[in-house]
Symmetry: C2
Subunit: 281 residues, 2 copies
C-alpha cells in the first residue's frame, strides 16, 4: 500500500474526486484509478461501488463525464473507477482500439504476449478491492460493481463468478456474450486462445446459465439508438438466458439513446440508487 500516490484531488459535491496511482502486482505495471469520496466519508465508513469502463477509456472518462458524484454525494457511496488495462511501454499493445492497452476485457490472459501483464480480472476482483479496503474507510464486504460496454461485460462477469463478493451489479450497454460477437471474438482469441471452452468463464450469458447458487439481480440499461446494439451487444441474449434459468433481470430499453456517456449520465442516478439500496444492509 505504501506506494499509493495521489495524482489529483478536487473538491466535488462536498466530497473529493481523487486520482491515485500505484504499482499493481497482478498487472506488473503502474495503474491509475479514480476515487470519489462522498462527504459522508469524512465521518464514517461508506460502501464502495466499482465502475468498469469501456474500450479506449482510462480512469478519467467516468469521473469527468458521467456526472455520478452528485447522487453519490447524497447516497454516501464511494465510487472507484480503475483504468481498463495494464499500461506502459513494457506492456504488449496493438494499434487497434479494441485490443491491447485500453482494451483489457477484464480477463486473465493465458496467451503470449498478453499473459505477461493482462490480468484485469484478478486486478478488479482481488487486488483493487484489497487496496481500497486497506487504504480507505470502507464498510467491509459491501461492494457493488457496475460498468459500461466492455466494462458492463466486466461487471456482469465478476459479479456472476463471485457469489457473495458483490451485493449489487448493473450495466450500461454491456457486451453480454463476448464469445459470440466481433469485439469479444477478437479479444478472447488473442488473450485466451482458440479453445472456446475457456471463453465461457468470461461470458455473462454463459455464466447466467451455469450459475447454481445466489442469483444476484441484474440491472441493465440499453439505448435503442446504440450504434453497436445489433453487432456487439445483443441484450436479448441475456434476457433469454435469464428467462430460461429464472435469473432476475431488469432490462430497460431507451428509445433514441446511443452508446456514449450522455446515455450513461442520463440514467446513472437510477444505477446509484439501485446499488445504494442493496448496499444499505
Amino acid at each position: 500500500m505504501s506506494d499509493l500516490q495521489r495524482l489529483e484531488r478536487h473538491a466535488c459535491f462536498g466530497g473529493w474526486q481523487d486520482v491515485y496511482r500505484h504499482h499493481s502486482a497482478s498487472l506488473g505495471c503502474a495503474m491509475n484509478f479514480g476515487v470519489y469520496l462522498p462527504p459522508q466519508a469524512r465521518q464514517r465508513p461508506c460502501s464502495v461501488l466499482y465502475w468498469l469502463s469501456g474500450l479506449g477509456c482510462t480512469e478519467q472518462n467516468f469521473i469527468t463525464k458521467a456526472g455520478a458524484q452528485r447522487r453519490a454525494s447524497e447516497l454516501g457511496l464511494i465510487l472507484v473507477a480503475p483504468d481498463t488495462s495494464p499500461r506502459g511501454a513494457a506492456v504488449a499493445d496493438d494499434p487497434a482500439y479494441d485490443l491491447g492497452q485500453g482494451a483489457g476485457f477484464y480477463v486473465n490472459a493465458t496467451q503470449a504476449p498478453w499473459s505477461a501483464h493482462y490480468r484485469m480480472y484478478d486486478y478488479v476482483v482481488e487486488e483493487l478491492p484489497a487496496l481500497i479496503e486497506a487504504a480507505f474507510a470502507v464498510r467491509p464486504g459491501l461492494r457493488g460493481v457496475a460498468g459500461h460496454s466492455m466494462g458492463g461485460h466486466g461487471a456482469l462477469v465478476v459479479a456472476l463468478r463471485n457469489p457473495g463478493r458483490y451485493r449489487s451489479v448493473s450495466a450500461f450497454a454491456p457486451i453480454v456474450a463476448p464469445s459470440r460477437v466481433p469485439w469479444g471474438e477478437k479479444a478472447f482469441s488473442a488473450y485466451l486462445g482458440s479453445d472456446r471452452t475457456t471463453w465461457a468463464a468470461y461470458d455473462a450469458v454463459a455464466l447466467v446459465q451455469q450459475a447454481t447458487g445466489e442469483r444476484l439481480p441484474l440491472l441493465v440499461d440499453q439505448g435503442e439508438a446504440d450504434e453497436f446494439l445489433g453487432r456487439e451487444l445483443h441484450p436479448e441474449w441475456l434476457q433469454q438466458a435469464c428467462a430460461l434459468v429464472g435469473h432476475p433481470l431488469t432490462l430497460r430499453r431507451h428509445a433514441e439513446y446511443d452508446h456514449g456517456y450522455y446515455f450513461v449520465a442520463s440514467f446513472i442516478d437510477d444505477h446509484l440508487d439501485w446499488h445504494a439500496r442493496a448496499l444499505a444492509g
Copy 2:
C-alpha cells in the same frame, strides 16, 4: 442560416445534446457550438442560457463535463455553448494557451493580426443569438448568460454592457478585472493595444462602476482553493465595486474547491435555478 450543419446529436435526459457548425460572419471562420435542447423544447419554445467557457476550452468542455443537462431538462432551459475563439489555419494564433486560439477573451480585437478574426464580443452578443433565435424554437428576448473563468469575465461584460438584452447573468471564478491581472493584461495588450482606456469596455469591475441604468443582479461562485484566485481572479474587487455603487451581487466563496469543472459541476444547478427564475417571466 442555411449553412448550419449538425455534427453531433445525442439523446440526453430526455432531450438532445447537439453540436453544430456554421460559418461565422463576425469571425470569418467556421465555428462549433453545443446546444442542449431539453424535452420541453419538443413541445414549446424555451428560454436560452448562453454559456461562455474558459481558456483553452472548445464547445466540448461544458457539454461533456459540467453535468448541466440534468437540471436543464427539469427546468426546460436550452443551453448554448460556443467555442472560445475563432479557429483554423487562416486565423492568427500564439503558442501560449492564454493568447490566440482558445483564448478570445470575448473582445473585438482592434490590433493586427488579431483584428482580422477575433471579434468574439460581436459573435456572442449579436451573431450567435440571432442564429439561435432563427434556427430553434426559443422564447424571444429571454436570454441568460453564464460562464467560467475567462468565460465568467465574458458573461459579466456582455450582460453589463447590454442592459435589457439579458435577463440574468452568473459566473464561476470569473476574471472580474482583466485590465489589472496578468491574463488580461497580456490578452488586452495584444487584442486592444497599449491604450488602457480602451480596456475598460471589457472589464467587469470598471463596467459596474460606470453603469447608470438597469442593475442586473450578479451571481458569482468562487472556490477558495482556486489556484488562480490571488493572481488572476480577485472577486473582492468586484465585491468592492458593487458595494460602492449599490450593484446587487451574490458572491459565494466555497472552501476547498479549485478552478476546474468539478467545481462548476458541484454548483451548476444553483446557477441554472438562478437563470430559470429570471427567465420565467
